[in-house]
């Protein structure tokens, strides 16, 4: 008797397990009507996937936009630029997002795909230095010419290297080895940083190149901004690069970098917009280009766009209209305010006009939108 109870209990448990295994597949379908039911009738779900760098901004945009147009619901998966490009190429999402500029092969694989720069981000160089007495050095350092590239190449190995001491006469740089820290995870941040290094240093360009991950000649890899910041703050004598927003939030000293015009510039909204304006007339058909090392006197050299990827000829006219409306809102005053609140840099007017003009050319099944 006892055995039979045991058996029936175990059968029951096993049956329950099997049911439980089947259940998750069914439940989202069941719960969907209630979720969408809270929104206005005819609610539209727009799916996107891609870069992680703009994710905080995009989720803020989607959240705020829900008050503007409650009929639209966005669902963005920040799976990384690679995944975003892949999914929009296979048309499994309505829009993609990427920090990296698509190569010509990638664009050829997805005919009609257009990159729209949404915002730009700047990157700060952070250091952890103590003088001979052991006091932290809080004066912003000046990095001339190719010094950052040379440090990351392992050619400049000491903080009191003549190039650095000459540029920083009022700072007593210690006789200490430089510990180089970089991102270990593939990221748009690394893409922009290596893009800058390739642009200022021929040696970097031919030895290492640019990409979301590269074969670093020297240094420690930290995972994410927090990994780089953590490693830098624990190692006296280290140098690293993080997103500007992260450096500001964590109260790092923001160092100055010499730009192409020879001026020492700190990263900020103005200096990044200046870099965007420098290249504003060269955006071209792709609407995508590198903005590192701009020629303007006030341009900060380590910055880059992040892009949304949309097909110029859409298939679903209702969705297409909603997406374009949303994009216009995002480029408008409210979207711009969200961006600067979160330390992303909104597009300057010269660039924005070109992007909006292209946005207006989006068609649905070959016909202009709004008809």
């Amino acid at each position: 008797m006892r055995r039979s109870i045991l058996i029936s209990v175990s059968l029951f448990v096993l049956g329950g397990l099997i049911l439980a295994a089947c259940a998750p597949a069914a439940s989202p379908v069941a719960s969907q009507p209630t979720a969408t039911g809270q929104l206005a009738a005819g609610s539209i779900q727009i799916n996107g996937a891609g870069a992680t760098f703009p994710f905080p901004l995009y989720s803020r945009w989607f959240y705020d936009y829900a008050f503007v147009d409650p009929s639209v619901r966005f669902n963005y998966q920040s799976i990384g630029s690679g995944g975003g490009i892949q999914q929009i190429t296979q048309k499994t999402v309505d829009f993609g997002a990427s920090d990296a500029i698509l190569s010509n092969e990638q664009l050829a694989a997805a005919p009609g795909l257009q990159m729209f720069p949404t915002v730009a981000g700047a990157e700060a160089i952070v250091v952890n230095l103590k003088d001979a007495q052991g006091n932290p050095i809080t004066t912003p350092l000046k990095f001339p010419g190719t010094t950052i590239a040379d440090i990351y190449l392992g050619k400049i190995t000491k903080w009191n290297d003549p190039l650095l001491t000459a540029a920083n006469p009022d700072v007593k740089l210690p006789d200490q080895n430089i510990i180089v820290v970089h991102r270990s995870d593939g990221s748009g941040t690394t893409y922009i940083f290596t893009d800058y290094l390739s642009s200022v240093s021929q040696e970097w360009k031919t030895k290492v190149g640019k990409g979301t991950s590269v074969d670093w000649p020297v240094g420690l890899g930290g995972k994410g901004n927090e990994g780089v910041a953590g490693t830098v703050s624990q190692n006296v004598g280290s140098i690293g690069y993080v997103e500007l927003a992260y450096a500001l939030q964590n109260k790092f000293v923001i160092n100055l970098i010499q730009n192409q015009a020879g001026a020492y510039v700190a990263p900020s909204m103005e200096t990044t917009q200046s870099a965007m304006t420098d290249f504003g007339s060269n955006l071209g058909e792709k609407l995508a280009l590198s903005i590192v090392n701009g020629p303007g006197k006030n341009s900060y050299p380590i910055a880059g766009y992040t892009y949304m990827l949309l097909y110029m000829n859409q298939q679903d006219c209702v969705k297409a209209d909603k997406i374009v409306q949303f994009m216009k809102w995002a480029y408008g005053p409210n979207g711009t305010k969200d961006a600067s609140d979160l330390s992303y840099v909104p597009l300057p007017d010269a660039v924005k006009q070109q992007v909006l003009a292209r946005l207006a050319q989006i068609t649905c099944q070959g016909k202009p939108l709004g008809n």
Partner: protein, 329 residues
């Protein structure tokens, strides 16, 4: 009288046999379900292996066996991939983890099962099991911001100062290192090994202890010469489970190992593991060969885990056979 009782008893007998028969059918159903679930697990393993094999075709064709023996990982410029540093890192950190965790876990388990007063067993056991419930990303952050500056770095500096002439303790010391990852893993696998080996000790019949003590063995001798050999296969099983977690751990290791491709022998030098590189680069792997090279690393990790498990099974099998033979003799 006997005939009558037979007649009255028979319906009961047939009823009970009928019940038994139906339950025998139940047995069959149950057996079928069990076989099905175990086959499903097996099929899952085969399917994962097959997918990894299939989806790494490009990379296997491009680099062949050299993939395992080369250490160039250049996704940006030359698009060349080699997995040696990652394989080395995974093996080294897992070995450090076992070296650190096994003595500590076995000690804790023996204390909890054999020596601790009853009122202490439950709370200490509970605390150890709590360690297993902490998410690994929390371990990683704690490792980077607390464990390394407070413990690993001072220990590394001391090792480097005193034993720096050994290649495995060569400087310079940064903090994030293979040693840091291994020691963090040691903490992470500690609860698994402790909990299982404590249960192994508790499952040993008291007659074994009593017999050993009756023969004049001390507590120490009873534990080391009777209980540990008796439960050896179970203890090995516990260690293998811990090793499995160490080999596969991703986020925590990524945060403290320093992610550096140098193939130096030094434990104080930053390294890289197979699961770390996959976690780091999979999301932003923007072209096929790159993606497939990462999947091939997954395949290698899969094969290594399988091999280690097989070896461990063999070891357990041999040990448990020896124990039985000795028990008979």
């Amino acid at each position: 009288m006997t005939a009558q009782s037979k007649i009255t008893a028979s319906p009961f007998i047939t009823l009970s046999t009928r019940i038994r028969r139906t339950w025998r059918h139940g047995d069959r159903v149950f057996q079928g379900l069990l076989i099905l679930s175990s086959l499903l697990t097996l099929a899952l393993v085969v399917a994962i292996g097959y997918e990894l094999w299939k989806n790494s075709a490009l990379s296997r064709q491009a680099f062949g066996l050299a993939f395992i023996f080369t250490s160039r990982w250049d996704p940006a410029l030359n698009r060349v991939f080699g997995a040696l540093p990652f394989i080395q890192g995974t093996l080294v950190t897992s070995a450090i983890a076992l070296l650190g965790a096994v003595p500590l876990s076995l000690g804790t388990a023996i204390f909890l099962a054999e020596l601790a007063p009853r009122w202490l067993r439950q709370p200490v056991g509970f605390l150890v099991e709590l360690l297993a419930a902490i998410p690994s990303v929390v371990y990683g952050l704690w490792g980077l911001f607390v464990y390394i500056p407070a413990f690993v770095r001072p220990a590394s500096l001391m090792l480097n100062k005193t034993l720096g002439w050994l290649p495995i303790f060569e400087g310079p010391v940064f903090g994030p290192s293979r040693l840091a990852a291994g020691l963090l893993l040691a903490i992470m696998i500690l609860p698994t090994i402790t909990a299982i080996s404590r249960d192994v000790f508790l499952a040993i019949p008291d007659s074994q202890r009593e017999a050993a003590l009756a023969l004049g063995a001390t507590r120490w001798e009873a534990i080391w010469q009777v209980l540990v050999p008796y439960g050896l296969s179970g203890l090995l099983g516990a260690i293998i489970l811990g090793l499995g977690r160490a080999l596969g751990e991703t986020i925590a290791v990524t945060m403290v190992i320093g992610n550096n491709l140098d193939l130096s022998l030094s434990l104080l030098h930053p390294g890289y593991t197979m699961s770390s590189v996959i976690a780091n680069e999979f999301t932003e792997a923007t072209y096929d060969l790159y993606l497939q090279a990462l999947i091939e690393i997954g395949l290698i990790l899969f094969v290594i885990t399988l091999l280690i498990n097989l070896i461990a099974r063999l070891l357990i099998w041999r040990v448990s056979r020896r124990v039985i033979v000795e028990a008979r003799a």
